[in-house]
Symmetry: C2
Subunit: 193 residues, 2 copies
């Protein structure tokens, strides 16, 4: 499937990349380690030589996904250096683009829903990573000069989270279609205060 690019990477990286993709598409409980290793062009033993367990692999996948997300944030700063308000608008546009390009939502949120056991080792990691994202959005809102930065950031967070899950239950023509309008309206109304 995804041979060309990552076929010559090391087995561990191929497994990590493939697992991220398959967990995202089919859910964590919807894909087994055999399927992952086969799609990654390797085998189960090699997976268990690099990862303690499936749970460990799940955690590493979440960290890797969060890492990619952080790179997107860095791109905002690179594109609009110092202009925090422009970066906030770029965040809205990027979120909408990702909504349109992919209907499987946020891996961390999906994992939290699938892994309902409250003591699952991945839960701690999910919370940490989500809190980091929240802090980053709060900082961006604050530095953009809006009043009540925390409230705006939290509102935008919930809107995006809701849009991502709404995409999966009612589809792209549902409430999530209005995400950009909602987010821009919110930012505007917080600025005038």
């Amino acid at each position: 499937m995804a041979d060309g690019t990552a076929e010559r990477a090391r087995p561990r990286d191929r497994i990590l990349e493939t697992a991220q993709d398959m967990f995202h598409k089919h859910g964590i409980k919807g894909v087994g380690v055999d399927a992952i290793t086969e799609a990654a062009g390797t085998n189960k033993m090699t997976l268990y030589r690099h990862f303690e367990s499936k749970d460990d692999l799940i955690i590493e996948c979440l960290r890797a996904t969060a890492c990619k997300g952080a790179a997107i944030w860095d791109a905002f700063e690179a594109e609009y250096p110092g202009d925090k308000l422009a970066q906030l608008h770029a965040w809205v546009r990027k979120a909408a683009d990702m909504l349109n390009a992919d209907s499987r939502g946020c891996d961390m949120a999906n994992a939290a829903i699938e892994l309902s056991e409250t003591d699952h080792p991945a839960r701690r990691v999910i919370k940490e990573l989500k809190e980091a994202q929240r802090d980053r959005l709060v900082s961006l809102c604050r530095d953009a000069g809006v009043g009540q930065a925390e409230l705006l950031a939290d509102t935008l967070s919930l809107l995006l989270e809701g849009a991502r899950v709404s995409m999966q239950s009612v589809g792209a023509e549902g409430p999530s279609a209005q995400f950009v309008r909602m987010a821009e309206g919110l930012i505007a109304s917080f600025r005038v205060r």
Copy 2:
């Protein structure tokens, strides 16, 4: 466990009630039919005499849950007959109450995330039920006299959906803690227009 009240109900009803509860708490893929029948005080054969398959049971559970949700809506009309704006505020309060009382979110959204196969029979039902809820909220907003009723209803929908999933990933102290403030602020800002 939940003997006293429903122990003397008919097996089909006990299974349906127990399955709703267990699917809600542990997720659909997190509980097997054996566990359901045991908790319902019956056995697997009886389950398969009343339901074609686990998928069929899932669908019936979702319908039953939606039915309970509809009853909550009826209670708003009963409590504030004719006063649609009061009903809208009651909806916000009720949503917040349910957020505080339970951290496992919306069964339909969770099911949509867990059942990632796009052709899963439950997906159609989930979409139908979610669209019905959306229509009802749009009507309530319109009858409450706010401008852009659809946009307000969709925004409130996404906020609530986001709050329910945020509860599960970051916990009750995360962005979802501000749900009431956000929702009330939104309603106010839509009214003045």
